[in-house]
């Protein structure tokens, strides 16, 4: 039986050819941008929505505003929740901008931490130098921008203690990091001085495993996971905005929790 919904006459066979230029002009991202632009138009008068980069610039400006608001709200003495050691996930969850098989282990014996910028003593540090510093442990929740989380136990040198030891200018705006996997990152000085910001050397009481940043990585309780670079090789204290791997691609810079 012929379906009652079936048209009596078929579409013209040349319809696709006739409308091909119009179909080509349709882009999914164009629709998304258009949707965004609708909201932007209500607030951002003068924004030319025909230029996607204009909308992008506006959104990034709002993201920077959001960063500033988060910085204002940040309490440098307020501690994030901590958890019992029994809740530590062993091993932790791996994540990077590449698969685990592409991890390049770092030789702890030859590893050096280079220092630059507004730091009085720029002599490079070795792993044994760092392990000789007073250590602090914390069991905190790692929260990823992707939506997952886990509880991890980290031990290392409080970044505040380290910065004070090397004579860093604690009035500077930024602390920037370079890593062995080319994943630059940077944080605000207030977060760098927070009690739960560590140059982590251990996880769950053992030295960091290769995929998790051996010999040293940054761990903070107050920022999203992507702000915690692994395999740190250099620290710079600066007043010039350093950006970061994802931040340079549009991720928010402050990324507070």
């Amino acid at each position: 039986m012929r379906s009652p919904h079936r048209p009596k006459d078929f579409a013209h066979t040349d319809a696709l050819e006739v409308h091909r230029p119009l179909i080509r002009s349709l882009e999914r991202r164009g629709l998304i941008r258009g949707g965004l632009s609708l909201g932007a138009l209500t607030l951002l008068t003068g924004c030319d929505v025909k230029r996607p980069e204009a909308v992008e610039t506006a959104l990034l400006a709002i993201s920077r505003l959001n960063d500033d608001v988060q910085a204002l709200l940040f309490d440098p003495t307020h501690l994030a929740p901590t958890y019992p050691v029994s809740m530590i996930l062993r091993p932790p969850k791996f994540n990077a901008y590449y698969d685990v098989m592409d991890v390049k282990p770092v030789n702890g014996a030859s590893w050096k931490l280079e220092l630059s910028g507004l730091i009085a003593d720029k002599r490079p540090w070795t792993l044994s130098d760092l392990t000789a510093m007073p250590q602090r442990s914390m069991v905190i929740r790692h929260i990823c921008v992707e939506g997952w989380d886990y509880i991890g136990g980290w031990t290392g040198v409080p970044l505040r203690d380290f910065l004070e030891r090397v004579g860093a200018d604690l009035r500077a705006k930024y602390v920037a990091f370079k890593t062995a996997d080319d994943y630059p990152s940077s944080i605000d000085m207030a977060t760098a001085l927070h009690p739960q910001t560590l140059l982590a050397l251990q996880y769950g009481g053992d030295p960091l495993a290769d995929p998790f940043g051996f010999p040293m990585r940054l761990r903070m309780s107050t920022k999203l996971g992507y702000k915690n670079p692994k395999w740190v090789t250099a620290i710079e204290v600066t007043n010039t905005y350093p950006g970061g791997y994802w931040e340079n691609l549009g991720f928010p810079w402050f990324a507070g929790i």
């Binding site: 991202r29 998304i32 965004l36 909201g39 932007a40 209500t42 607030l43 992008e56 959104l59 990034l60 709002i62 993201s63 505003l65 959001n66 960063d67 608001v69 996930l89 062993r90 091993p91 932790p92 969850k93 791996f94 994540n95 990077a96 901008y97 590449y98 698969d99 685990v100 098989m101 991890v103 990823c144 921008v145 992707e146 939506g147 997952w148 886990y150 495993a209 290769d210 995929p211 996971g225 992507y226 994802w246 691609l249 549009g250 991720f251 928010p252 402050f254 990324a255």
Partner: protein, 160 residues
Amino acid sequence: MVRGYLRWPRRAAVTACLALLLGPGAQAQSPTPGGMPPPPGMSLERSNAMRFPQPVEVGQLIGRTVLQPVESQNVLGHVHSVVRDDKGQVLVVMSFGGILGFGSRLIAVPVDAMVLLGDVMEVAAYTPPQLSHFATFDPAGTTPVPPETVVRVGLAKPSH
């Protein structure tokens, strides 16, 4: 996909609460999927060795959800137990198949074919159609691995 996402950062959406402007949600930090199967011809042991296998107590694996390493992270089953076969190979016994938990059966997958992903596991070396051809687990000839035993399991990054 990721390039598009990066152009529209999530925090912009959070900021939108201030500016009453909405942006798209965050997706993934991982431009390429994790848990990729080993290249053709590569042994499971060698493939696992490339994944930086980490020590984990067997008891910590029991009950973990097992996912398919694809963006949709389909649930394949749950870890039932861990056994050792007569050749000494460690096998993860997991539920598989069925609908909504009904009608599933137990299959034994070599631990080297699986990866850890935080508090879940993935079957990296076999697709669901391949797993459907696995024989139903028969404990005969196997020995349960005690919960305190430490085995080494490879890692993967999130597939989403």
